[in-house]
């Protein structure tokens, strides 16, 4: 009997040791890699990220084989309701009790800034896709964050420069009154001035807002050739719709500074035609983007926005980095992410800079006329590919503390 008990004890002990060593060999601190998609599931931005971003994240996990370093990859998601306090609290809970390793998507700049701060304190990684403010890689930059898809500067450079070059040299801004809107207006105004244009005025509209007619009339009275819409989502849609209603688009041109393909889908080509905008991704660009987008659409009712494509791309790169580093330790993974170029359906030769900016090409596109469109979601003509180094703010003018000058 004694012998049998001893044997049991030894076997048990061995099993324990093996379990522990298996975990440490895998390099994952808690035996599972947990991805958190924090997004707007039901509010103003839920069509352009939201459930679609969760689908994109799940696709990334599936395409990577569901496992990294022999351990399962799990997905959790939450609705942060575009509120920084809810976002920060949920992030803290995820890191402290649910062992989440990385948070992605993060629309609404104020919420994204709050979460990247919390993540940095806990030494966890954030991959911001839908959040837009340039503060993310400047004043508020940190070593555990990557800003993946676009930022307000890239949008401003793409659209602002092109519009001024086409003779649109006087601007009036209708700006959503919060961090993102201000950032978008400031960045665009700087580009307009640098390109030889002039800003004749602006109005800060409360966010969110439905009736823009009053603000549009102020823009009309300013006599500016271009009305810059420094807003997003439902606000942009209503501004464009009402500008057409008030006959403003007959004499003045709208420049949408942040427009997603889902916005165009909702407006219809009849209303949106002719608008020029900048995007980080368009599904109908080459065979690779078409193939991925087709798979995405099979799982989700819409074509992917740039934010959703960015969630997929950033997670694929993150998983590869975890595999390369052989651990989920944040510093090692960040180093691996920065050492590898990004080559997938989203970006070609993309790279991550010291300030956390993922630099990749952007696209200046024009919305097609209804007659030019061959079917659903055939919305854009690509006018120009903007090289990554031109699209994003140069490190010389960066205010990020991580950038050595």
């Amino acid at each position: 009997m004694a012998k049998k008990r001893l044997l049991t004890a030894i076997v048990t002990g061995l099993a324990l040791v093996m379990a522990v060593s298996a975990a440490s060999a895998a390099g994952l601190s808690d035996g599972v890699l947990k991805v958190g998609v924090m997004t707007d599931m039901s509010g103003a931005y839920s069509d352009l990220c939201g459930p679609g971003s969760v689908v994109a994240a799940q696709m990334a996990i599936d395409d990577f084989g569901g496992k990294v370093l022999g351990k399962k990859i799990e997905l959790v998601s939450v609705d942060h309701q575009n509120k920084p306090d809810i976002a920060a609290n949920k992030a803290r809970e995820w890191f402290d009790t649910e062992k989440v390793d990385v948070i992605t998507d993060l629309p609404t700049s104020s919420a994204a800034l709050a979460v990247m701060e919390v993540a940095n304190q806990k030494n966890k990684i954030t991959l911001i896709s839908t959040g837009a403010s340039t503060k993310i890689t400047n004043d508020n930059c940190n070593a555990t964050n990557v800003h993946w898809t676009y930022d307000t500067y890239a949008l401003a450079v793409g659209t602002g420069k092109a519009v001024v070059a086409n003779g649109g040299d006087t601007w009036f801004f209708i700006t959503a009154d919060y961090a993102f809107g201000h950032s978008l207006e400031n960045d665009t105004a700087a580009v307009v001035k640098a390109s030889g244009g002039k800003v004749v005025g602006d109005v800060k509209a409360p966010f969110p807002n439905t009736d823009f007619s009053s603000f549009l009339m102020q823009a009309q009275a300013s006599g500016a050739k271009i009305i810059g819409l420094a807003n997003a989502g439902a606000d942009t849609i209503n501004s464009i719709k009402q500008a057409k209603e008030f006959g403003i688009t007959q004499n003045q041109t709208l420049a949408g500074l942040l427009i997603f393909i889902t916005d165009i889908n909702s407006l219809g080509l009849d209303t949106a035609q002719g608008m020029v905008l900048t995007t980080g991704f368009y599904w109908d660009r080459n065979d690779e983007t078409r193939a991925w987008s087709k798979r995405f659409r099979e799982r989700h009712k819409n074509m992917p926005t740039m934010g959703q494509a960015g969630v997929y791309s950033s997670l694929m790169h993150y998983f590869s980095a975890v595999e390369k580093a052989g651990t989920d330790d944040s510093a090692a993974v960040m180093a691996a992410m920065k050492s590898m170029p990004i080559n997938d359906m989203f970006a070609k030769n993309g790279y991550i800079r010291d300030d956390g900016r993922m630099v990749h090409d952007m696209y200046l596109v024009q919305v097609k006329k209804p007659a030019e469109s061959k079917g659903p979601w055939d919305y854009y003509k690509v006018l120009r590919t903007i090289p990554g180094d031109e699209a994003y703010m140069s490190l010389d003018s960066s205010t990020c503390k991580l950038v050595k000058k």
Binding site: A44, L48, K204, A205, P206, P208, T210, D211, S214, Q220
Partner: protein, 296 residues
């Protein structure tokens, strides 16, 4: 030399006043429905915003799936939404009349969330486009502003409906019954008037008004599941300022607040989202029953 008021050209000011009047007529028609319902049923109807949304969706659906034009939609949608209201009153609200206001508020608020959630699940938040009917395409240049024909129609339609409703309630025999029912339902019933039926129909009418406003709004704003919740809080502030249950008060206050909000958008746009609530706080401090309300 242009005449200026505080640095704003008078033309621009006139234009903004007109815009304020348009928004004010939306507030008026929505707050009127709420005031009728509160006056007669003592129910604080938080589903009103969702019912406004239902009106817009009913118009969009009947156009898209059935090919029904705007004018038919303008009649049909309020009827559908009104019928929904009647069902809601018969099946649910009726059980709450003898309880505190709070229960009705909770029920209607919950229903609003459910309705919004269902439509969000089905249609997403970006919304659907309802094109302006052909007859109202374009607009007229008034010299100080370009007035789209459709917006002019919105003012005419909503003011007509508002004042017709006011007239029926304050100046006709049917209206006298309604008012009597709010004061003393038992006594009126003793005279042989079917009070429960009257209450049901009145609730249906109040709800139909929300549906009507929804159809009016559909071509201007995107038809979205959240369009009502964006508006309902302002409309409640309007009702509080006007005096809960006051018919004329809700109409006049609705229009006045539209105008005040319009002015704020010119002089200090950042505050245009809160100005209504600042006024509400002031009114509650100085005249708790509202501008047109009576202390009970």
């Amino acid at each position: 030399m242009m005449i200026q008021v505080f640095g704003v050209p008078i033309q621009a000011l006139l234009g903004q006043l007109l815009i304020g009047l348009i928004n004010g007529s939306f507030y008026a028609i929505l707050s009127l429905g709420l005031a009728i319902i509160f006056g007669l049923l003592n129910i604080i109807n938080f589903t009103h915003g969702a019912q406004y949304m239902l009106g817009a969706f009913a118009a969009w659906m009947s156009l898209t799936y059935l090919g029904v034009n705007y004018w038919v939609g303008l009649i049909l949608a309020p009827l559908i939404v009104g019928a929904f209201g009647i069902l809601m009153e018969r099946l649910m609200l009726r059980r709450l009349y003898h309880l505190d206001h709070l229960y009705g508020l909770l029920l209607t608020f919950g229903l609003a969330l459910v309705l919004e959630g269902v439509f969000r699940q089905l249609y997403g938040v970006s919304g659907l486009s309802y094109t302006i009917p052909d007859i109202f395409q374009g607009g007229v240049n008034l010299g100080f502003m370009f007035l789209p024909y459709y917006r002019a129609w919105v003012i005419v339609a909503s003011l007509t409906v508002c004042f017709a409703t006011w007239f029926v309630i304050e100046r006709t025999k049917l209206g006298a019954y309604l008012r009597a029912a709010t004061e003393n339902p038992e006594l009126l019933q003793a005279f042989g008037v079917n009070v429960p039926l009257m209450i049901t129909l009145t609730f249906g009418y109040g709800v139909a008004l929300a549906g009507f406003a929804g159809v009016l709004a559909a071509p201007i704003y995107q038809v979205t599941p959240v369009m009502g919740s964006n508006l309902i809080i302002v409309v409640f502030a309007v009702v509080v300022i006007g005096g809960m249950g006051s018919i004329l008060g809700s109409i006049v206050t609705g229009i006045a607040l539209g105008l005040i909000e319009g002015m704020t958008k010119v002089f200090y746009p950042e505050a245009s989202g809160v100005v209504v609530f600042v006024i509400m706080a002031l009114v509650l401090l100085l005249r708790p029953a509202g501008l047109f309300g009576r202390e009970k």
